[in-house]
Symmetry: C2
Subunit: 339 residues, 2 copies
């Protein structure tokens, strides 16, 4: 909206022959304006193609009706679909989504937080719960309304909508162990600054420790790409004690590993079992289908939106908002063999 001379309230007022206040009221509280005037105003607005100036309004009401989301990357379908659900929910409430991406990097996330906030975001959706002190401080000090998705924690200063990554990691591992596997390997995302990856591994270790006959023969971290995962698989296969199952902390990683096994002439799950995490489309499409953990992507997006909208609602009920814990069912397909 940047024609050289966009119409302003004044212009509309001049045409209709009323004060700017009436126009404003007509836009924000139509019932406060008499029917006939309202009609004339509507017509004038229409004919001028008037659109309220965002800055002016934001300045006056100190609110932008805008919410920011900072996700690691839209490249990964799991976040893209969560974001899509989030956006749709916001859209119904007439609030607009600002997007930033952190590339799994805490500094970038901090920058994006500052940036989105300085763009006027009324609230923020963030992924995961661990962040550096300065980021944390910044959020608190400015009392930024925000919710954390993809994780769950009670008794935290922030609200969360998601699941317990550690428990989920433990659950899938237990599942693998129940299939008779004793030597496990792990391919995970880089743990640094990524609590989800970190906690999932912790969960895996929990399950292993609970069972003395089971051991983890290798943990390989790598970026979220097929090729990196393939390389991680190579490293794992290079060690003496071959695992019978590889637990991956993400479907992308799992599928990358599967692709590599194919190149190597290994059969999944006969020669090697592989499990994923996320349950994105890829998991369903690869052959055999990937046994994985379903992450409630869309549900998180939708629920996070609800909470956030409530949080920034100026006349919000004092109703105590609660963190929400969602479940992560195991989806059984074909990559996990009984030993």
């Amino acid at each position: 909206m940047r024609g050289t001379n966009r119409p302003s309230l004044k212009d509309v007022a001049a045409i209709v022959g009323v004060s700017t206040a009436s126009i404003s009221r007509c836009i924000n509280n139509p019932q406060k304006v008499a029917e006939p005037t309202r009609l004339r105003i509507k017509k004038a607005i229409e004919s001028l193609g008037y659109v309220p100036h965002f800055g002016g309004r934001a300045l006056a009401i100190n609110r932008t009706n805008t919410i920011g989301a900072i996700i690691p990357s839209m490249e990964n379908a799991v976040f893209a679909s969560g974001l899509q659900a989030f956006q749709e929910a916001l859209s119904h409430a007439k609030v607009t989504l600002l997007v930033g991406s952190s590339n799994y990097n805490a500094t970038q996330e901090y920058d994006q937080i500052r940036s989105l906030l300085s763009q006027g975001a009324d609230g923020l959706l963030l992924i995961g719960k661990d962040r550096p002190k300065n980021t944390q401080d910044f959020l608190e000090r400015n009392s930024v309304p925000h919710v954390l998705a993809w994780c769950f924690a009670e008794h935290m200063s922030s609200l969360t909508v998601g699941f317990d990554n550690r428990k989920s990691g433990q659950k899938i591992t237990k599942h693998v162990i129940e299939h008779g596997h004793r030597k496990l390997a792990v391919i995970a995302g880089l743990r640094e600054g990524n609590d989800r990856a970190h906690e999932r591994i912790l969960g895996i270790e929990d399950a292993v420790k609970a069972n003395p006959t089971v051991e983890i023969v290798a943990i390989e971290e790598c970026k979220y790409s097929f090729n990196e995962a393939g390389a991680a698989l190579d490293r794992i296969l290079a060690i003496e004690k071959s695992p019978t199952a590889i637990i991956c902390s993400s479907d992308v990683l799992a599928v990358g590993a599967m692709l590599r096994t194919k190149d190597l002439g290994l059969r999944v799950p006969d020669d090697l079992s592989i499990t994923g995490f996320d349950d994105i489309n890829l998991a369903r499409v690869v052959t055999p289908g990937l046994t994985t953990v379903r992450v409630p992507q869309q549900e998180m997006g939708r629920k996070a939106a609800v909470i956030l909208l409530d949080l920034i609602n100026p006349n919000r009920s004092n109703a105590e908002l609660q963190s929400i814990e969602l479940t992560t069912p195991i989806i059984t397909r074909g990559t996990l063999a009984y030993l």
Copy 2:
């Protein structure tokens, strides 16, 4: 940024003991402020945790440094990755991305356009080139800076960054025909309000018409989901003249069809050839690998950002900006058989 009492320029000025003008200058034109003052100001800003108020600034400079993108859906990886690239490019230029999604629906797109613009977007990224007259009019009348991606056209009032969907459709079809196929079927996205789907089919028809021995035995439209594509495949197989190849206007559709063939016990490509369009991760992962058309998703995102940034640059060179045509190579994998 909505602490009950966020600091304003005035507060900073009070602490430093200079006028608000100097603070403003220090933020926007540091070289216009003497070194020592600048340092003191920086310190004060830091200690207060001051962040410029978005509305105030937007009102004063009549610009938001915000660009909107309206894509059909982030659910489809092809758009998600284009959007990711777009966002990154914008981020480098310190501009923020507003996101809306249209769900392949012209009315929703129009609403989102209005919405993003009223949120102050300085410019817009839109997908595809055909839209209803009212949308078109709206864009022109308000002279909204915008670029259209995922399509290409010269001599249009809008700039485009993308490829010629029709030519690409023709190209893959020619490729299929060269493999000896004579009876083709098509699974496409809903054409209504979707010029990409529409033009791809036109291209397919072009290629077929150029070769009298070839015919299209069926064209099925459906939504972009595996199941819908599977159902479309069923409909195609139900007719008498069985096609030997199915050309799909998107990878999602192609993979959905492949999944269904598997259920049906049909072998791809031995019993049936299938081609896709987009070249998203799915195409590489499915077995056999999907022969498809590569769409330069990220390149479009990046280049669209460059153009758009130029377009909204207040002191922009008069350099005539040009639409950009990108190529769409055919990626040969395993779903297209020689007959």
